[in-house]
Amino acid sequence: MEALQIYWWALISLLGALLVFLLFVQGGQTMLCMAPNDTTRNLMVNTLGRKWELTFTTLVVFGGAFFASFPLFYSTSFGGAYWLWMLILLSFVLQAFSYEFRRKQGNILGRRVYDIFLFINGAVGCILLGVAVGTLFFGADFTVTKANLTSISNPVISTWGPSHGLEAIASWRNLLLGLMVLMLARTLAALYFLNSIDDGEKFGNDMKRSVIINGAIFVVLFLAFTGVLLTSPGIEGSTFTAVPYKYATNLMQLWWLGALLAVGVVMVLWGIVKTAIKPGYRQGIWWSGTGVVFTVFALLCAAGYNDTAYMASNADPTSSLTIANSSSSYFTLKVMAWVSAFIPVVVAYIAYVWYKMNAKPLTPGELESEHHAY
């Protein structure tokens, strides 16, 4: 059972890591207003538009996999932090139709409104997903009382503070993580635009400058977040007591996670620095993107492994969620583990299609001749 719980937490962490990488779509949506003209803006939208569904799907699968493997988290966090999740949800709903509708005749609202929707999804989606992940490290005000199920008047087992997630948004530590995710997404977006759009030298220089500016802000926020995280206490899952420097301890005791984190950080920085210093370099997205996946995977693993409550209850530590007390049954985890054997196939065909579709950067000429364009 324990091995399956560890396996599924690793898969959740991997999905979360891939999601953070794919948030470059959201980051790019916040940069559309910087486009100097309609042609460039349309190029940016269309190169993002060929990937938006992948980000969206990863978010949905992340939610579904969490539901299947750790249903108590789904029940407690989604049902408790109602406003936080509803705002995330609404921002993604706005995104889903904005790409398709923005330049279609008869769209009622006009292109600018749909571009504003894309901006809202980019900014709000990134920040609030960061806030939601922040609750995994810094806890939240909730209690879990399964015996409530036997009550007619109050049958709900998970209860959250009266603000229902707004207090999580107001927490400076969660917001720090949210802003960091936004700046990371913008950095990755600039790297992605460099890789996938061919719109002349000026565009390339603009994107390089974006990489440097957003990357620098991201690094500052990342250092601040890392400092806060490594000095924060965590709840030990077996005793439900607070342990100082829990996450720093986890990264040292599970040395391979610490090493993965270090490698990931170096790769992210290398992608940014090489893009900044080497003229004509377009492959930074792959260095930084892979680094992001390594880094986020290591951080999420550190949140749940080594007898750590991955979502601490600040209201009642004994209600804290661990991978042991919140998981699905052995049978379900086993069935789902078999299902997960198909994930490499999924990754393989996504990679193949990505390669085929992005073999050449998108140009204004190609966009004009497209049968279907956003």
């Binding site: 579904g64 299947a68 609404l90 609202l109 699905s328």
Partner: protein, 519 residues
């Protein structure tokens, strides 16, 4: 308690709104993805430029609609957590699995290959593009499969047992969950109805092209493909509908009774073909349930049991726990009053187990488990105040069923007529009335489709999980004001979304009708 019921009502309203809006887009996605793939195959095999133009025409419609289905679909998944958090814990061990499998197998398939469908014309080979179109259609169907497995499980919970230590249900047979007869029937019935809806949409829009007297060849060819898809679809939808009726009578007899407005059943029960319910009828009184009704003799017995003399219980029979044999002898089953008592005993046993568990009293735990097991079948009834609480809204279920069946019958005639006209009497298709009829049928097929879901979902009230959990026990601990607010936000967003989608589609169709698509 008042606020609890208000949260339940608003949460139900929000979920119903989301599901109904989602279902406006999904069946069109199911149907159009298949029709587009067939059309592209015809182009691939014949090399005829006409089929390429036709494929791109309908692919455009598919793209506009697909995004809306995606937008509304994510809300449903999140709402299981945000609004039905108790449910998410109580059965998450079973219910979460199909959702995750849907994501892994279907969503990635769709989202990856739909990008090739739209943007890959100049980037991949013809064969790869065709494969992408079929893989997108396959992804749509796989997605429907797992969602319908999950939905069917709520209507007929199987393959699980209750774990009192965790206070939740846990899966013990994946095949019982995935391959339950209710799930299989529901899957085919729903997906095939999507074929019909997609086909009617294509025929209706083609009629508009004919009305404008341009692009006739494209319209005729589209009607041919859609006519075959729709005819196969409607015939098989009716066949699986018959299977659904048998399953409902077996596992949800109260829903069947509500569908028929049947309060007291009999052997050789007739089927109400057309009727008006008596709005004053109350459970247990002597009023006739129908103000007016045309009945097909022995029809309901035949439909539900495939036996003209079989007994079909009515609402009051089920509440009283009465069935009849073929000879008319009475058999006593478990009345709803007894079920409520059993449910309360089960709940009390669970509370005793929890106390014994906390005290480490293994003997008391074992005794409580025995008591719980004996009555667990009726666990959900323990949350109800009286037997009438277990009766779904009869009028809505009754009328929605009739709308679905009558519209379905019309659609069979419509499809056969479309095929006949396009192959044998094409001149009829040039008749303005016929063309307007084709256009109007677009509205009818959507009404039919939504009515089907109303029967399925309203008819199973008050249960979120049949007999085990009523909606009042499934909610999240949030204020009803919060849910009301998000409900109205969704109303605004969905209205905007629908208005924009309709605006874009109508503009696109008009544009296509006013230009030569073969040029």
């Amino acid at each position: 308690m008042n606020d609890l019921m208000s949260v339940v009502d608003w949460s139900r309203a929000q979920f119903a709104l989301t599901a109904m809006v989602h279902w406006l887009f999904v069946p069109l996605t199911i149907g159009l993805s298949l029709i587009v793939a067939v059309m592209e195959t015809l182009w691939y095999r014949t090399g005829n430029e006409k089929w390429l133009r036709i494929t791109k025409l309908w692919m455009k419609m598919f793209g506009i609609n697909f995004a809306c289905g995606v937008a509304t679909g994510i809300i449903l998944e999140f709402e299981f957590g945000t609004n039905w958090s108790n449910y998410s814990w109580f059965v998450g061990d079973i219910f979460g699995a199909p959702l995750a499998i849907e994501g892994i197998f279907a969503f990635f398939l769709e989202s990856t290959f739909v990008a090739v469908m739209f943007f890959g014309w100049n980037k991949v080979s013809r064969g790869f593009h065709l494969a992408s179109s079929w893989l997108t259609a396959l992804g749509v169907v796989i997605s429907a499969l797992w969602i319908l497995v999950a939905n069917a499980w709520m209507q007929y919970p199987a393959g699980m047992e209750f774990d009192p230590a965790q206070m939740r249900n846990v899966m013990d047979s994946f095949t019982d969950v995935a391959l339950s007869p209710v799930a299989i029937n529901k899957f085919f019935h729903t997906v095939l109805s999507g074929w019909v809806l997609g086909a009617v949409f294509v025929i209706g829009v083609s009629c508009f092209l004919l009305l404008k007297k341009r692009n006739q060849e494209i319209a005729y060819s589209s009607i041919k493909v859609a006519g075959w898809v729709g005819t196969v679809g409607i015939v098989l939808t009716m066949w699986t509908g018959d299977g659904s009726a048998v399953e409902v009578s077996r596992v949800q007899p109260m829903k069947l009774a509500a569908m028929e407005g049947l309060y007291r059943g009999e052997c050789g029960q007739g089927l109400v073909g057309v009727g008006i319910l008596n709005p004053d009828k109350q459970i247990g009184d002597d009023r006739d349930p129908m103000l007016f009704g045309f009945e097909i003799p022995k029809g309901l017995s035949m439909l539900a049991k495939h036996d003209t003399e079989a007994f079909v219980p009515g609402i009051e029979d089920l509440i009283d726990g009465i069935e009849l044999t073929a000879d008319g002898d009475t058999i006593h089953t478990v009345s709803y009053a007894d079920r409520i008592e059993a449910g309360r005993r089960a709940r009390a046993a669970l509370a005793r187990y929890d106390e014994a568990h906390a005290a480490g009293d293994t003997e008391a735990m074992a005794a409580a488990v025995n008591d719980l097991k004996a009555d667990y079948k009726y666990f959900g009834y323990g949350y109800l105040d009286n037997p009438e609480d277990a009766v779904p809204p009869v009028a809505l279920t009754f009328y929605a069923f009739r709308v679905m069946v009558m519209a379905g019958g019309y659609l069979l005639v419509f499809m056969l007529a479309a095929l006949y006209m396009v192959y044998r009497r094409r001149s009829l298709l040039d008749n303005k009335l016929v063309q307007l009829c084709g256009l109007a049928t677009i509205a009818i097929v959507w009404i039919c489709s939504e009515a089907g879901w109303i029967v399925a979902e309203v008819g199973r009230q008050p249960w979120v999980i049949q007999d085990l959990m009523p909606s009042r026990a499934a909610i999240s601990a949030i204020g009803s004001g919060s849910v009301q607010f998000t409900f109205w936000v969704f109303v605004v967003v969905f209205t905007m979304l629908l208005a924009a989608e309709i605006g874009i589609m109508v503009t696109q169709i008009r544009k296509d009708a006013d230009r030569d698509l073969m040029a």
